[in-house]
């Protein structure tokens, strides 16, 4: 089961994302932003975090128009799983695959800290058997992480529990499209897959990917 991890210039988390994908028993492969097609046999896509195109213009704006995005849009239409993490979430919103947009944090500062996330909807394929109301501990690290939009336009999967670190509407930390196959989140599950690093709660999302493929 092949999962394409997309690399744009300025993508930073592709290696940790690929590691997390492999950890869930899937086969990661890299796809390059300038390519016209995803690698043959791609069944799912992960768009990892970073600063694609240096956040020039607007986070995710330029990447959302990169050549590789057309094949991702096609795959998403076929209801294949597409996961966007942090900058990947920003790219998915910019590309129209997900509702809303990400604006700068309420503090106007970059924030890197562990966050508690409440599973808001366990009927999407993204929570891997974790029940609604369960709490996941996953780090956030972003400058433009305040999701703004109509939560009813998609399916809110994860909400910040306790303090809302960035001022997002309805405390949205992660949201899926109406069909449920495309999901974006600001927290970094790929950095919460190893007890040595403090949390393994991020594995749920990658297991979900394995279950969905």
């Amino acid at each position: 089961m092949s999962v394409a991890v997309i690399r744009f210039p300025g993508t930073l988390d592709h290696e940790s994302a690929a590691r997390a994908v492999a950890g869930a028993g899937l086969e990661p492969c890299y796809a390059w932003h300038a390519d016209d097609a995803l690698p043959v046999g791609t069944e799912a896509v992960v768009i990892p975090g970073g600063f694609s195109y240096g956040d020039h213009l607007r986070s995710g704006a330029i990447a959302s128009r990169a050549p590789i995005m057309e094949s991702i849009l096609e795959l998403a239409e076929q209801e294949a799983p597409v996961l966007g993490i942090c900058n990947g979430f920003q790219i998915l919103c910019e590309s129209g695959l997900l509702p809303g947009a990400l604006r700068p944090n309420a503090s106007l500062s970059f924030i890197c800290r562990q966050a508690e996330l409440e599973v808001a909807d366990d009927t999407t394929p993204w929570t891997g058997g974790v029940d609604a109301g369960a709490v996941l501990s996953i780090p956030i690290k972003h400058h433009d992480g305040a999701w703004v939009g109509d939560p009813g336009a998609g399916r809110v999967v994860l909400r910040y529990r306790g303090e809302n670190p960035n001022g997002s509407v309805d405390a949205v930390a992660g949201i899926a499209n109406a069909a449920g196959n495309v999901m974006g989140l600001m927290p970094h599950p790929e950095e919460a897959c190893d007890a040595l690093l403090g949390s393994t709660d991020g594995r749920a999302l990658f297991s979900a990917l394995a279950g969905a493929v």
């Binding site: 210039p9 300025g10 930073l12 988390d13 290696e15 940790s16 590691r19 300038a34 970073g50 600063f51 195109y53 240096g54 956040d55 020039h56 500062s109 970059f110 924030i111 890197c112 800290r113 780090p139 690290k141 400058h143 970094h188 790929e190 950095e191 897959c193 190893d194 040595l196 690093l197 403090g198």
Partner: protein, 729 residues
């Protein structure tokens, strides 16, 4: 700096009359303007270390683990299984004082390219910062913007900022310090050199276009005192971390495919320094066509192109058959790559521009023939330890004093800083900032690499030799407290003007003290940097050597946190020496004479801690430094989320036991049985003193005739809010 238009060019460029005469003598002719400009930069303190090189030779630089000592872009040490780490710390003090955001950001960018030039993948960043008191609006501005600059750059290039340190003192009000350290990972057989080789090989410039930014930075900013910042604003470089990231990805790909004969970053003095060092260290010449260099601005002159400090550029030597492939690979990363010259057999730098030869001189003149100066050695009056009647009275309310100390910016929680830094990217950060005495990142071998960055400037002011020892010993204890065996250091020597007063003597004494401690630990200096002239008309900084130490934890799962062990665990002090208030954070100045460390005892203490950690005996360990035992205990308790009950032998002054500093002492928590084991193994001169037990909602310390008790929630509030309150946020 006032510009006297009538002064001769060499003086405007910062060269002395004697140096100008020497240049004439070495060349046997009048230098061309471009040549004189190159000399002025390469012979500046920043590039040539002309006032410090004679003293630096005292450092030990050899060791079994050393794969590359001083002389390349960074030092490299073996970390096992064919892997090595390259690391270096460098200052960007003066640019940060002029424009803190860009100054700090480009400081990070520069040190990252030094690591990249070794063929290493950057895996960790740390920063050491010094600013004036936060009651000063100017210092708040410099501090806030420097932190933003570091975050902006580090976050965008995807290298985790895993640690560092900061303190505030009026001595840095007009000369702030921004030192950045980078650590990179490289296979032994993947190490690169900056030495150009192979006449006929091509010289390829990769990365950003060249503009007028940073012109004269190396000589104007880093080698003279700052008097009037306004004049120097255009000299500060502008950062472009996005290009840096592409440069990293691209160069590492090319290095992986053995595309480089040599690689060098363009830092201070730009192309001049890069070309001069590549040619001179390779014993070859370089012929450069300036017309080929892609420019960002029109009308640039040859000297401007030669000394531009435009960031995010690397200079590579490539074999001719691979040039097209290298340029193609760079294009794939949207990077400019241009063949700008060729390696020649005769060891000369030959630079052509617009049909004319603008530079034609032996490269070694720029690098090896720079003058060296001995600096005046004026010892300050010897200090005496503070006598009992010289100390301020013991506070009536020791708990209030404790709370106040916890909230001081120098002691308080630095979360406001490190939450602005991505300290996790790469998913290898085993110990996050403030979770252990050193940052710990996972290596591919399964070992942990521990890194700490430390200073001891008040101690250095009071006793330069003792302070030099103290900074090395503290760095080592910080590593050992996590379970890491120290391997090597990099250092940045931040000092005032060495040509005046006692600075030259302090520099020599600090180096002597550091060297003595390094010998005790049997570890070398493998890279470093010197930043002099950190003084203004009203203030001279403390002698501030910053030591970046790296060490190994064989099994990364055995890393020891600084938090107290679970409730019921026993608490003990391990180490040697007695605390004093001289030079302490509690007294808040450098008065008196702090106790001089005993490096051999510190080395023994560190070995004991490393062994204990490897055997899983320690639940928590925290070095006792600024703020003394009471502060250290509070930090460990806050991290653990529960308190402790402690009994100390009180002296005539309870504040000495609570807040005194000195000696080598580490607070550890462990089960009783493990403490017994540990006590049995300790060498004679290292003492283990049981002082209490972990648990409860309070920090209570019994001093015999009196006791102090602080609610943990109150301690936490004071500690958590101290920094942001001082900033008025």
């Amino acid at each position: 700096m006032s510009i006297d238009a009538a002064a001769p060019l060499h003086r405007l460029l910062g060269l002395t009359d004697d140096e100008n005469d020497l240049i004439h003598e070495l060349l046997g002719r009048e230098p061309a303007d471009a040549e004189l400009m190159m000399f002025s930069l390469m012979w500046s303190e920043h590039c040539s270390y002309k006032h410090s090189r004679n003293l630096l030779s005292a450092f030990p630089t050899d060791g079994d683990a050393v794969l590359q000592g001083p002389g390349e872009n960074a030092g490299v040490i073996d970390v096992g299984n064919g892997w090595a780490v390259a690391f270096k710390v460098e200052s960007h003090n003066h640019p940060s004082a002029v424009e803190p955001f860009e100054g700090a950001a480009t400081g990070v960018g520069g040190i990252v390219r030094d690591i990249l030039a070794m063929g290493a993948r950057p895996i960790a960043l740390l920063d050491s910062l010094r600013f004036g008191e936060l009651s000063s609006r100017r210092s708040r501005h410099l501090f806030t913007r420097a932190v933003e600059g570091i975050g902006h750059y580090g976050n965008c290039i995807g290298v985790p900022t895993v640690g560092g340190e900061v303190s505030f003192d009026d001595r840095y009000e007009e000369s702030c310090l921004v030192n950045a350290m980078c650590v990179g990972l490289v296979r032994h057989d993947g190490m690169l050199t900056a030495a150009a080789a192979g006449p006929g090989n091509a010289l390829v410039l990769i990365g950003n276009r060249t503009g007028r930014d940073g012109i004269g930075g190396a000589s104007v900013l880093a080698s003279a005192e700052l008097d009037d910042d306004e004049d120097k604003r255009p000299s500060v470089q502008v950062s472009d971390p996005f290009t840096e990231r592409k440069l990293m990805d691209c160069c590492l790909e090319l290095a992986e495919d053995d595309a480089f004969v040599a690689l060098q970053d363009l830092g201070a003095a730009g192309l001049t320094s890069a070309a001069g060092e590549m040619a001179s260290s390779g014993g070859v010449g370089l012929e450069i066509a300036l017309d080929r260099i892609p420019l960002r601005e029109t009308g640039m002159t040859a000297p401007e192109i030669l000394v531009s400090e435009s960031q995010e550029r690397m200079l590579a030597v490539i074999e001719p058959p691979r040039v097209a492939e290298v340029i193609e690979r760079c294009r794939r990363w949207d990077l400019d790559a241009t063949e700008i010259g060729v390696v020649t057999r005769e060891p000369r730098l030959l630079v052509r521009f617009d049909g004319e030869t603008v530079v034609d001189l032996p490269a070694a003149l720029l690098t090896d023939q720079a003058p060296r100066y001995d600096v005046p050695q004026n010892a300050p009056p010897e200090r005496m330890a503070l006598a009992y009647d010289e100390l301020p009275p013991v506070p009536g309310d020791l708990v209030a004093a404790w709370r106040e100390l916890l909230g001081r910016p120098n002691v308080a929680d630095k979360r406001w800083i490190w939450e602005q830094y991505d300290h996790l990217v790469g998913a290898n950060t085993v110990r996050r900032p403030a979770a252990a005495d050193a940052a710990v990142v996972r290596l591919p071998t399964g070992a942990g690499l521990a890194v700490s960055l430390d200073g001891a400037e008040r101690h250095c002011e009071a006793d330069a030799r003792g302070g030099g020892m103290a900074v090395v010993c503290e760095a080592a204890r910080n590593l050992a407290a996590t379970g890491a065996r120290p391997l090597a250091i990099t250092d940045c020597l931040n000092f005032a003007n060495p040509e005046k007063g006692e600075t030259g003597w302090q520099l020599r004494e600090v180096i002597a003290g550091m060297s003595e401690a390094l010998d005790a630990f049997e570890i070398p200096v493998v890279s470093g940097n010197v930043s002099l002239y950190n003084e203004s008309a009203t203030r001279r900084i403390y002698p501030t050597p910053i030591v970046g130490m790296v060490g190994l934890i064989d099994d990364v799962a055995r890393t020891v946190p600084l938090a107290l062990g679970p409730e019921g665990h026993a608490l003990a002090l391990i180490g040697y020496g007695e605390p004093r208030l001289d030079g302490s954070e509690y007294l808040g100045d450098d008065a008196g004479l702090p106790p001089r460390p005993e490096p051999m005892q510190d080395a023994a203490l560190c070995r004991s801690l490393v062994d204990a950690a490897a055997d899983g005996l320690l639940a928590g360990a925290h070095d006792i430094s600024g703020g003394g035992l009471a502060t250290t205990l509070a930090e460990s308790a806050i991290a653990a989320g529960h308190g402790a009950r402690v009994t100390l032998v009180g002296g005539p002054r309870p504040d000495v036991a609570l807040f005194g500093e000195g000696g080598g002492r580490v607070l550890v928590s462990a089960t009783d049985a493990h403490l017994d084991l540990l006590a049995e193994r300790l060498p004679e001169d290292i003492v283990l003193t049981r002082i209490g037990v972990c648990g409860g909602d309070e920090l209570s310390i019994d001093l015999g005739d009196r006791g102090v008790s602080l609610d943990l929630a109150e301690a936490h509030a004071a500690y958590a809010g101290g920094l942001t309150e001082a900033m008025g946020a």
